[in-house]
C-alpha cells in the first residue's frame, strides 16, 4: 500500500533520485524518492547498512548527495535555517552544565545567555528537566541525557527535527516513555519529524508513515501509512491495527533482505 493520498499542499522535503556512493565504492543510496509533508512524522526503518543515517544526514545538509535533487517546496525552496538534530548518543559536552549544553545552538549564533535563558528554560521545561539545569551530563541517567539532547534540538524552535536512532541505546521502559513524550511534543508543536530507527515497533507506534529501506544498494522498498489516530497510547500498542501494521512493515523488510 503506497500512500499516494498525499495532501495537495506542497511537501516540506522532496527527495528525487538521491544517490550517494562512498569513496570505498560502497553504494550507500541509489535513486531514493520520497516526499515528506510539513508537520508529518515519518520513520525510516531498515537493517544496518541500508543508508538510512546517510539519508538523514543528506537532509540535514551534513552530506552532499552525488546524484538527485533535494527540494524544499514548502519552505520557499531553501533548507530551513533551523534544523534540530538528535543523534543516537546524547552527544552532550561533558564540560558544560545542562543549561549551557542547551544554550549551544543559540550561543553559536551570538545570542548572549541572558537573552537566551527564557528559551533555554522553556526547552528544558518541555522535556521536564528544569530542576537539572545546573547539573553536569555525568550526573544524569541515560534517559535524562537524551532529554537534554532533545531540549537542545528544540531550543531554536526548528520546523524540522531529524532523529538518528535516538532511543536505541536506552532500556525498553525509558524508551517507551520517551516515545510518548516525543509524540506529546510533536502534537503540541507540530514540527516535522524524520525518525530513523531499526525497531519496527517503535516506527509503527510513532509515525504516520513508515518508509521501509533495504540495503545494497540503499533504497526505499515501501511506503506504509499507519492510519491510527493520535494521541496514541497503551491502547494502540495493544490494538489489532498495531499488530497488523508491525506485520506489514516486517514483511516488507523481509522481502527486501531476502533478495
Amino acid at each position: 500500500m503506497t500512500a499516494d493520498s498525499a495532501p495537495p499542499a506542497p511537501p516540506l522535503i522532496s527527495l528525487r533520485g538521491i544517490g550517494k556512493t562512498y569513496g570505498s565504492g560502497t553504494v550507500a543510496l541509489a535513486g531514493v524518492d520520497a516526499h515528506i509533508r510539513r508537520g508529518g512524522f515519518v520513520s525510516l526503518v531498515g537493517p544496518s547498512g541500508c543508508g538510512k543515517s546517510t539519508l538523514l544526514r543528506i537532509v540535514a545538509g551534513l552530506i552532499t548527495p552525488d546524484t538527485g535533487d533535494l527540494l524544499w517546496p514548502a519552505a520557499g525552496g531553501a533548507r530551513p535555517a533551523d534544523i534540530g538534530f538528535v543523534f543516537q548518543d546524547p552527544t552532550l559536552m561533558p564540560w558544560a552544565r545542562v543549561v549551557d549544553n542547551v544554550w549551544l545552538p543559540l550561543k553559536l549564533r551570538g545570542i548572549a545567555k541572558v537573552d537566551a535563558l527564557p528559551r533555554i528554560m522553556n526547552a528544558l521545561e518541555r522535556v521536564g528537566l528544569v530542576d537539572f539545569a545546573r547539573a553536569f551530563p555525568r550526573e544524569l541517567s541515560g534517559g535524562m541525557r537524551m532529554r537534554v539532547s532533545i531540549a537542545r534540538a528544540l531550543v531554536t524552535e526548528p520546523p524540522l527535527l531529524l532523529m538518528d536512532e535516538p532511543f536505541a541505546a536506552l532500556d525498553e521502559f525509558t524508551r517507551e516513555k520517551l516515545d510518548d513524550d516525543l509524540l506529546d511534543l510533536w502534537s503540541s508543536q507540530r514540527f516535522t519529524v524524520v525518525f530513523v530507527t531499526h525497531s519496527i515497533y517503535e516506527s509503527v507506534y510513532l509515525s504516520e508513515r513508515v518508509l521501509v529501506m533495504g540495503a545494497r544498494p540503499g533504497r526505499i522498498l515501501s511506503d506504509i501509512a499507519i492510519d491510527a489516530p493520535y494521541p496514541r497510547g497503551r491502547a494502540f500498542r495493544e490494538s489489532h491495527s498495531y499488530v497488523e501494521s508491525c506485520a506489514a512493515v516486517g514483511a516488507a523488510l523481509r522481502e527486501g533482505t531476502a533478495i
Partner: protein, 268 residues
C-alpha cells in the same frame, strides 16, 4: 567522593607510605651503624640530615636555580606546545611541514645537543642554555597530547557545530580546546617531570660550575667525596620532583572534577 572512601581509608593511604618510609630509613641507619660503613661509601640518614642542615644556604641557593630553570622551561613548553598544537589543528599543511621536526627534536638525546647549545649561547649565559635544553625535553609531550586532544573531539558534536553554522574560531574555542583539556593536562604532568630532568641533565653536561644548580652540587660533592652532601642534594631534587608531580595532579583534579563529582556539592 566515592562511598567507600571513608576518613579511615584516607588516613591509612597517607600513613602507610609514611610508615614504610620511616621503617626504610630506620633499617638504613641501623645497617650503617652496625656494620660501621664509612660515610664516603654510604652515609646514614642522620649524617645526610646533618649535611643538609650544615649546607642549607648553598643547597637552597642551588635549589632555587634549578627550580627557576624548571618552572620557566615548563611554562614556555606549555605555551609553546599548546600554541603549536592549535596551529597544527588549523592547518594540515603546517602540521605536515613541521611535525617531523618536532619529532627530530624529541628523539635526539638532549645530552648530545647540550654542548652545541652551550657553545651557541655562551658559557657566560649558562642558565639560558639550561632553559633551552629543558624546554626542548618538556615541550613535546604537551604538543603531541594537545594535538591528539584537539583531533579527538566527538565527531557528532562536530557535525552539530557545522549544522548550526559555527565559525572556525567557535569550533576551536567551544569544542576542540575543551575536548583537548584532559589530554593537555596529562601532557603537562609528563612535561613537569621532564623539565626537571632536562634542567638537571643539561647542567651535568655544562659542568665546570658555570651553573650552580643542584646538579652541580652533586658533581662537586662527588669530586670531593662528600657523599652525605651528595645525598642531601639528591634528596632535595627528589622532593622537588614529587612537589611538581603533586602540584600538577592537584591542578588536573581541580579542573577536571568540575565535569563530574564536585558538581554534586554545588547542587545544594
Amino acid at each position: 567522593m566515592k562511598g567507600d572512601d571513608t576518613l579511615f581509608a584516607r588516613i591509612l593511604r597517607i600513613l602507610v607510605p609514611i610508615a614504610v618510609g620511616i621503617a626504610f630509613l630506620g633499617a638504613w641507619e641501623v645497617l650503617v651503624r652496625v656494620n660501621e660503613i664509612q660515610p664516603f661509601v654510604l652515609p646514614a640518614p642522620s649524617r645526610i640530615w646533618e649535611s643538609l642542615v650544615a649546607n642549607f644556604g648553598s643547597l637552597m641557593a642551588s635549589l632555587w636555580v634549578t627550580l627557576r630553570v624548571t618552572i620557566a622551561a615548563f611554562l614556555l613548553a606549555t605555551v609553546g606546545g599548546i600554541g603549536l598544537a592549535v596551529l597544527f589543528s588549523q592547518s594540515r599543511h603546517i602540521e605536515m611541514a613541521l611535525f617531523p621536526y618536532a619529532v627530530v627534536l624529541q628523539v635526539t638525546p638532549v645530552v648530545s645537543i647540550a654542548p652545541l647549545i652551550l657553545i651557541w649561547v655562551g658559557y657566560d649565559n649558562v642558565e639560558f642554555a639550561l632553559l633551552i635544553l629543558a624546554w626542548i625535553v618538556a615541550f613535546f609531550p604537551i604538543l603531541s597530547n594537545t594535538t591528539l586532544g584537539l583531533r579527538s573531539a566527538d565527531h557528532n558534536l562536530r557535525d552539530l557545530f557545522r549544522l548550526y553554522g559555527a565559525s572556525r574560531w567557535q569550533v576551536l574555542t567551544e569544542l576542540q580546546l575543551p575536548s583537548a583539556l584532559p589530554y593537555m593536562l596529562a601532557g603537562m604532568k609528563i612535561s613537569g617531570g621532564l623539565a626537571l630532568i632536562g634542567a638537571v641533565v643539561a647542567e651535568f653536561v655544562a659542568g665546570s660550575g658555570a651553573a650552580t644548580g643542584l646538579a652541580w652540587r652533586i658533581v662537586e660533592a662527588g669530586n670531593r667525596l662528600d657523599i652525605p652532601r651528595m645525598f642531601a642534594a639528591l634528596f632535595l631534587l627528589s622532593t622537588l620532583g614529587i612537589c611538581i608531580f603533586f602540584g600538577l595532579t592537584l591542578l588536573e583534579r581541580r579542573i577536571l572534577s568540575r565535569w563530574h563529582e564536585s558538581a554534586v556539592k554545588q547542587e545544594r
